[in-house]
């Protein structure tokens, strides 16, 4: 390709982990029932006022720290004025770059296809979401449950060079929001929405000089990561085609939207039609001094993020990088793993069960680990039972499957099925001798040097006991008894 691509992202992510909205004390939770999480200010009844949620500010400042941004001395909010039926006040309370928002000028390292990359963060701001609307043939209907839900908007510099990088960054951000306890960051729930800007430039020019950049095209409202990938790739190709056709220079700076159905970007407006949002400082929210002490407190409370947990799993538990990567990919999985360990389970066994059995089964069942009927305490118990020799590893697999399907305790399943392991040496000796008695020809082969035949004999012991004999004990006893013959 003869071109270099420059991509910048605006990522909007709902904060889903506060109990209330950002400027209203209505619940911040999803509901099927329209207009059931509404306080007067959410529908902008005359005389109502915004009141800032401390927890939302705390989470925003935490995200700002994780992104290496600087935090402002004073917290301000601004009004962004425009009319739309889903915006009941006729303005959105947000933050602009002046006065400073919750985060300015940061940097984040992320991994794309095994390679470390960095992206500069221009700013991070805290704002409120609009209401949601459903569209019918002749009307639209508005539900204000979402109005006022806290949103974090993150703006990057145009530091990505491919759709892969942009998506890898979004995945990293999603992981950060999840691990920091800020948001589920679930795009299926509409919690993540992106605006993407794309431009291309000649490969040989220096990208650190903005004068060399091409014409910026902004693509609005891309609501999934795969959409981001497709929109970027579509837009790159569209711009290259314009270049090749010699029409690129005619292309004005513009805003387009991603149309999922046609899998293409569609022109919305040119630069001259840009909306003037008439920003000004929100007078109903006094400026708030962010104390150093509070910032320190927040900094100390940042939970371990995915890469930190991964390092710890490898270092403290001796888990392979491959498995550790799987464990931290989704925070609920890492949490499941850690909960299991907290209940006394051996970390390596827990990791094995989760990576080789649990995740595959959940995948087949098409449920998430949070919906799993098998709990960390079930798994910890199962691992203990195997360790204590109460059941065999082979039995454990069956117990695991049943517990996953029914949610019953492994203890109960084992006792219902009468499962137990034969660990009594006298009892095993008796069975070993039965097997030896039944297989004189095998003994003879053994004596003639086919020592591997002992495996067959141990297998017969396991078969006779329906797998309940402790395998290593059976092997020891077999070795002893066969010598006596």
């Amino acid at each position: 390709m003869n071109y270099k691509v420059l991509i910048g992202l605006e990522m909007h992510c709902e904060i889903s982990k506060t109990k209330t909205k950002v400027f209203s004390s209505a619940r911040n939770s999803f509901s099927e029932t329209p207009n059931c999480n509404v306080r007067p200010v959410d529908m902008a009844f005359p005389g109502t006022l915004p009141v800032v949620n401390k927890e939302a500010v705390k989470m925003a400042l935490m995200a700002s720290m994780i992104l290496g941004c600087s935090q402002p001395e004073y917290l301000y909010f601004e009004r962004k004025n425009y009319y739309y039926p889903d915006l009941p006040k006729g303005f959105q309370i947000t933050q602009e770059t002046k006065p400073a928002p919750v985060g300015s000028y940061g940097m984040l390292t992320y991994e794309c296809k095994g390679e470390k990359k960095t992206v500069r963060i221009n700013n991070l701001h805290l704002e409120e979401d609009a209401a949601s609307s459903d569209h019918y043939p002749s009307c639209s209907r508005i539900n204000y449950n979402r109005a006022g839900v806290p949103l974090l908007e993150l703006v990057t510099e145009p530091d990505f060079h491919s759709a892969d990088e942009a998506v890898a960054f979004l995945e990293e951000m999603r992981s950060i929001y999840q691990y920091a306890g800020i948001s589920e960051a679930d795009s299926k729930k509409g919690q993540v929405r992106c605006d993407v800007n794309v431009s291309i430039m000649d490969k040989n020019l220096d990208e650190s000089d903005p004068a060399n950049w091409g014409t910026k095209v902004e693509i609005k409202n891309v609501n999934s990561f795969s959409g981001v990938r497709d929109a970027i790739n579509y837009e790159i190709q569209r711009q290259i085609d314009l270049k090749e056709d010699g029409k690129y220079d005619e292309m004005p700076q513009q805003t387009r939207r991603w149309d999922e159905e046609s899998a293409s970007t569609i022109f919305m407006r040119g630069k001259v039609d840009a909306i003037d949002y008439k920003y000004f400082v929100e007078p109903n929210i006094p400026k708030f001094k962010i104390s150093k002490e509070w910032l320190e407190e927040i900094r100390k409370s940042i939970p371990m993020l995915a890469h930190e947990r991964k390092d710890m799993y490898m270092k403290n538990y001796g888990i392979s990088e491959y498995d550790a990567t799987i464990l931290v990919k989704e925070k609920p999985v890492a949490d499941f793993f850690e909960d299991t360990i907290k209940l006394g389970a051996n970390p390596k066994s827990a990791s094995n069960w989760i990576t080789t059995n649990l995740l595959g089964s959940l995948n087949k069942m098409e449920i998430t680990i949070e919906e799993s009927k098998l709990t960390p305490s079930h798994l910890a118990l199962l691992i203990k039972m195997v360790e204590n020799g109460e059941i065999s590893s082979q039995q454990a697999k069956g117990v695991f499957t049943e517990s996953l399907e029914t949610g019953k305790s492994p203890k109960d399943i084992a006792s219902e099925k009468g499962l137990k392991q034969i660990t009594n040496e006298g009892e095993i000796t008796k069975i070993v001798n039965e097997v030896l008695d039944e297989n004189p020809d095998i003994i003879e082969q053994y004596k003639n040097g086919k020592v591997a035949m002992v495996n067959y004999l141990v297998g017969q012991v396991m078969k006779k006991t329906h797998g309940t004999a402790n395998p290593s004990l059976a092997r020891d006893v077999m070795a002893k008894e066969i010598e006596k013959r």
């Binding site: 207009n35 009141v51 500010v57 301000y76 639209s140 209907r141 204000y144």
Partner: protein, 98 residues
């Protein structure tokens, strides 16, 4: 500096989703002339650019942020009591898209 014109007044009014009569338009321009003259005067004030804009009545004010504790949702009957067009539990408007 672009001056405020009759056409601009109409354009602004349009963007504000209000209609103005000819007479109202003229009154805006008259009143605006007074403001503009004053602003010219303000711009002459020494070091005016260095003054921090005053955005709130009380600058020295300390307050606390709200604790994250939910309050009950307003009953739907109250929310929609003054709404002239609603269906089920939702406010209805002409189709917004397309």
């Amino acid at each position: 500096m672009q001056k405020f014109t009759k056409e601009m007044v109409d354009d602004y009014a349009d963007k504000l989703l209000i209609g103005l009569t000819e007479e109202e338009n003229k009154m805006v321009l008259d009143e605006f002339g007074v403001i503009d003259a004053t602003i010219d005067m303000i711009n002459e004030l020494p070091d005016i650019e260095k003054v921090e804009p005053m955005t709130h009545a009380l600058d020295d004010f300390e307050y606390v942020l709200r604790e994250d504790e939910p309050e009950e949702s307003v009953p739907i009957e109250d929310l929609l009591a003054n709404c002239d067009d609603h269906t089920d539990r939702e406010v209805q408007v002409p189709r917004m898209v397309g």
